[in-house]
Symmetry: C2
Subunit: 346 residues, 2 copies
Amino acid sequence: MAGIKDVARAAGVSVSTVSYVLSNKRSISAETTRRVMDAIRELDYTPDASAQKMRGVRNSIIALSMPIRGDINLAKYNAYFLRTAWEAKNADYDVLLLTGEDMVGDIQRVTRSNLVDGVVLMDIEEDDERAAKAATYAKPTVAVGYPLSHDGCACIDIDFVQVGCQAADYLYDRGHRNVILLRDNEHDYERRSGYVVMFHESMMDRAEELGMSVLEFSKTDLARFDAVEFVHEMFSDGGMATAIISQAPASVLDHVLKEMQVRGIRVPEDVSVLSCGTFLEGEFMTRPVTEIPVMPELLAHKAVSLLVDSIEGGKSIAGMVDLVSPVIQERGSVMDLTAEGGRGSR
Amino acid sequence: MAGIKDVARAAGVSVSTVSYVLSNKRSISAETTRRVMDAIRELDYTPDASAQKMRGVRNSIIALSMPIRGDINLAKYNAYFLRTAWEAKNADYDVLLLTGEDMVGDIQRVTRSNLVDGVVLMDIEEDDERAAKAATYAKPTVAVGYPLSHDGCACIDIDFVQVGCQAADYLYDRGHRNVILLRDNEHDYERRSGYVVMFHESMMDRAEELGMSVLEFSKTDLARFDAVEFVHEMFSDGGMATAIISQAPASVLDHVLKEMQVRGIRVPEDVSVLSCGTFLEGEFMTRPVTEIPVMPELLAHKAVSLLVDSIEGGKSIAGMVDLVSPVIQERGSVMDLTAEGGRGSR
DNA sequence: TTGTAAGCGTTATCAG
DNA sequence: CTGATAACGCTTACAA
């Protein structure tokens, strides 16, 4: 590989001149510039990244920490992951993927060795070790999520307490008093995956305040989920529920929709459906479902922007928290029971 | 950040001693080792990656080039991607993600600047620019796929010509003479995504040789796909077909299975189903489907192993091709029409 | 067993 | 406008 010296020799100038031609940090005669550029092209010269970094040039790499578990919700996962990669690229940063078992160790290694300039933490749990140890990373860190312990990093997330309240209020306002909750993957509950739990608690609290009754259905482990059983139980157990709140992934929810369709149960005329903390966009659904979605594009954008600002501005972002207000997407699957005539809400 | 000099000072030794303690390249007294290790722990010292690299130490990073299109089959995509990341990690390499528009430019940049030690190309098309320009990359490159032009890189893929023959033979041997082909996403055909096209051509050729009739159904664009129409057309158009060969993703195929179930069409008694070049494992299907699957684990493993060997052994792998023989996964969805009594094949 | 010093490929400072 | 050179943090001959 040709180095800067080779270029200098070929162009008949000094190495510093070559460097300055590339960096535009001092004025160079047109003639010299031309000769140098020719030599660069001729030799296919690309500056060595390590040498540049040793001289203080940023390498523009951010680490993306994403645990790979067997039970992840791929669609949602991907939406966040791909969008974060896209935002990074857009800000002219490369992405170094950290997926191993020893997440904390890996992050410490890549930050302390100056391999990366910053860190994004994805798929955050309530007790997230990566976030808890963020103070030991040598570079600014932002978590997409809201872990309990987060002194060392910034946090960007949807305000899931608000999502819970909004969900309860939304249904209450439309006359629903008995709802059934189709829980997310139980693994996520066991792991206390941050948002899943926060939404759940907030929604249940709010429902109780309002005097709504919430029946929980939890067999949403994908491998074991049985839509037939769910629909059966839902309508056999007193048959009081007028609405379903779903945390389940698209495929599971769609099975429920299908099963109801088969049984002649209409949405929203017979039962309303509201999906919360999900990402149904682009999924193949039997019918559109009103949703309080997660917002991968927005969160990824905020996370990367904040991180890049910190990297380039040198300001610390440790401890910062930005909780975004949820936005409900009306898709006509919730019935307004208080409306005259009993027509759908949309 | 503490450097090697700080450690040396704290331990009361020279910098070379610290370096040798870390690298074990010469014997150090127990006492000195202890003092140095203490200082390292005390100061949280981690060697600077750039400085090491400048001295010829490998940085153990491979670039993973994966285009992000709107229409990718996420499940399959992920299986490859996650597995490749896992294999890399397992071989002690970090992964630098390249997802941008200017894939060739990015690969040239990260290889020539010595940022990475090798490159893996994913989601290869028949005319793949990345593979065609592989000779211009400064590091060994392996493509997971089989592009037309591949002089500059190694190729690892399933032998899709064999898959096509196997599919036709498998059904022919079991007495099927009229089959319907549920094509993959049309985008993949338009783009001439390598394997999709190779399978298709090979299967059609073989079917013709055998005198089988193949009816093609191509509305498998996820957004527009209509299982009802498909099943209707399949059984109205003469109703001759005894089997479906599917290239479609799990969700699309499952819709078809559901629609047939609703209509009382039994699998495999009334119609057989064979899925080819897909990755149904872990997908939620109405019933198991016999499959000639892609093999993400195997291909990722082979690709990373080959690449790492080349990096560490210094041997060129340009032009190498490794086509893996397909393995059929029997899951009882294909009926053996030649068997006495007409029972299912499994 | 340990220390000294050269040098990796850049950038920036200081002279011209 | 351009050139020589120190310095970045580390590894590794070469000396002791």
